[in-house]
Amino acid sequence: MCVTSQRTENRGGRTTVFPVVGSDSKENWMQAIEADSLVVRVGGRRGRTAVNGLDLRLGRGVHGLLGPNGAGKTTLIRTLATVQKPTAGTLSLLGTPLRGTGMRPLRRRLGYLPQHFGFYKRFKVREFVEYLAWLKEMPAAEIPGAVHRALDRVGLADRAEDRMKSLSGGMVRRVGIAQAIVNEPEVLLLDEPTVGLDPAQRLRFRELVAELGRQSCVLISTHLVEDVAAACTDVVLVSEGSLVFQGTPADLAARGTREHVGDSPIERGYSALISSGGAW
């Protein structure tokens, strides 16, 4: 799919260039994400504690965030994306402690795909990603090239001139991924990015995140255990707002035994850690 799109793209031209991602040396962080006793309450005074005393250290690589519905995955990702204020605890991103002010330089280095990816229907695909690149304060001269690269990486370069409303669900999701990576973020937060992608697209997506994870810290929230097994170097398992497990997919698989529910070792490991409390 990607190959065809680029073929059409490059008729007559000879300049397809993919600069090495993140080759600039602005990385002065050891841990991209450092959370200590993080507490996040949502929904005002009568709300609930979605993240409850979470300790988390994440560095470079692809990290899968797993957990049952309502475990606090989306709230955690929103907090890391700096759109949700932590109630208590400390949070540092890329070595910068979050204090509620002065987030602008930090946000330029983040990429975020929300769970509900809203977009403007009458925008062309390229316009939409360009608009997000502008919101991310990218230098104007770099925007067209960066937008092209981002669309190319998600295999949508040939749909750049189409309206957003003409895209299928999977394509919309890929535009969402393109806007998240357009600024080549050092921390990339993807909330359920594989929803609506067909199996072939999911494979391409895994290749893409593996590539991104070599330079940056990629955190992918998902309910698909198989995505984690295939694409992630590291698994973070949360339940009821707390960290239950962090380790490699193999470590997670090792936790499961034959008695646990699941079709694959990693699913059995997941149920071993999660469903000890009972039903679903």
């Binding site: 990607c2 190959v3 680029q6 073929r7 793209e9 490059n10 008729r11 031209g13 000879r14 300049t15 397809t16 260039v17 993919f18 600069p19 929103r78 994306a81 700096t82 759109v83 949700q84 204020k85 509620g100 002010t101 987030m103 602008r104 330089p105 946000r107 330029r108 983040l110 975020y112 929300p114 509900h116 990816f117 809203g118 977009f119 403007y120 925008f123 062309k124 390229r126 316009e127 360009e130 608009y131 997000l132 502008w134 919101l135 991310k136 304060e137 001269a141 770099e142 067209p144 090239g145 092209h148 690269r149 990486r153 370069a157 001139e161 806007q179 391409r204 290749e207 893409l208 590539e211």
Partner: protein, 270 residues
């Protein structure tokens, strides 16, 4: 990307590479693409094209330029500029605001007035910018609010731009309307600005959507309803009330500045 990974094993044949270096135009597009993407990733093959220091030197010099070169036409600059100020979600609302203004003037010219000659223009003036502000920030009206909130531009700079854009539509519209009906500036401009700032100030605490609903309801209950019911000019629309409106405006602007960080969070979109 698929192809790029595949290419790392299959180096292009000598013949093809020579044709590529010569710049032959009859290489099939897919072959051409494969060679190029391979060359990008494979330094030994670049060295086959030219002795190594030369190839590498050319490459190092070229790469940053190519990265900047747009490979597709740029989007309309005008559109880009407009989106820098007007929230993409607010467009239809701004058009509606102008329509409502025109309708209020038309009704006024037809002799429809409320109570003691209170023009409809004055009754709608404070509500109009509230709609525009809500369209720019509200979770319900802006589909991309969560994406926007997470970007570095979110916060006071974007609030200022989007609000200025709303006022740039509302104020000239109302100014033209007041010229037509022959009313003074103070009767509508200060309430209009105070409600604009008030929506944002209240929105910083309870969310823009709720703030807009509360303020419009308050205006309807406290000002519009009594005006209609008792057929009198409300004191709030007298010239004498101007200092009060100015005070409200100043207070609201202060609150916005103090609470500016709220606009970088999702809470302001509620």
């Amino acid at each position: 990307m698929n192809a790029r990974q595949g290419d790392s094993t299959a180096h292009p044949r000598e013949h093809l590479l020579r044709r590529y270096a010569r710049g032959d135009v009859d290489i099939a597009a897919d072959e051409l693409w494969a060679v190029e993407s391979h060359l990008e990733a494979c330094a030994p093959c670049r060295a086959r094209l030219a002795p190594d220091p030369v190839a590498e030197a050319v490459w190092t010099e070229l790469a940053p330029q190519l990265a900047l070169t747009p490979q597709m036409p740029r989007a309309g600059r005008w559109r880009g500029r407009v989106n820098g100020w007007v929230s993409p979600a607010a467009g239809p609302w701004l058009a509606m605001i102008l329509l409502v203004t025109a309708a209020a003037v038309a009704l006024d010219r037809l002799g429809v007035a409320v109570g003691d000659r209170v023009s409809l223009v004055h009754l709608v003036a404070p509500v109009l910018p509230v709609l525009g502000v809500a369209a720019s920030w509200s979770r319900a009206l802006d589909p991309a609010h969560e994406l926007t909130a997470a970007t570095p531009r979110a916060g006071l700079p974007l609030v200022f731009r989007r609000t200025a854009a709303v006022l740039a539509v509302v104020v000239p519209g109302l100014a033209a309307a007041s010229l037509v009906i022959g009313a003074g500036l103070t009767q509508w401009l200060l309430p209009c600005l105070a409600f604009t700032a008030g929506t944002l100030a209240l929105g910083a605490f309870v969310g823009i959507t709720r703030a807009a609903v509360v303020l419009i309801a308050a205006w309807a209950v406290v000002i519009v309803a009594p005006t209609i019911a008792f057929s009198r000019t409300p004191t709030a629309l007298n010239d004498a009330a101007a200092p009060l409106w100015a005070a409200v405006l100043a207070l609201a602007v202060t609150v916005i500045v103090v609470r500016r960080m709220a606009f970088t969070r999702l809470e302001a979109n509620r």
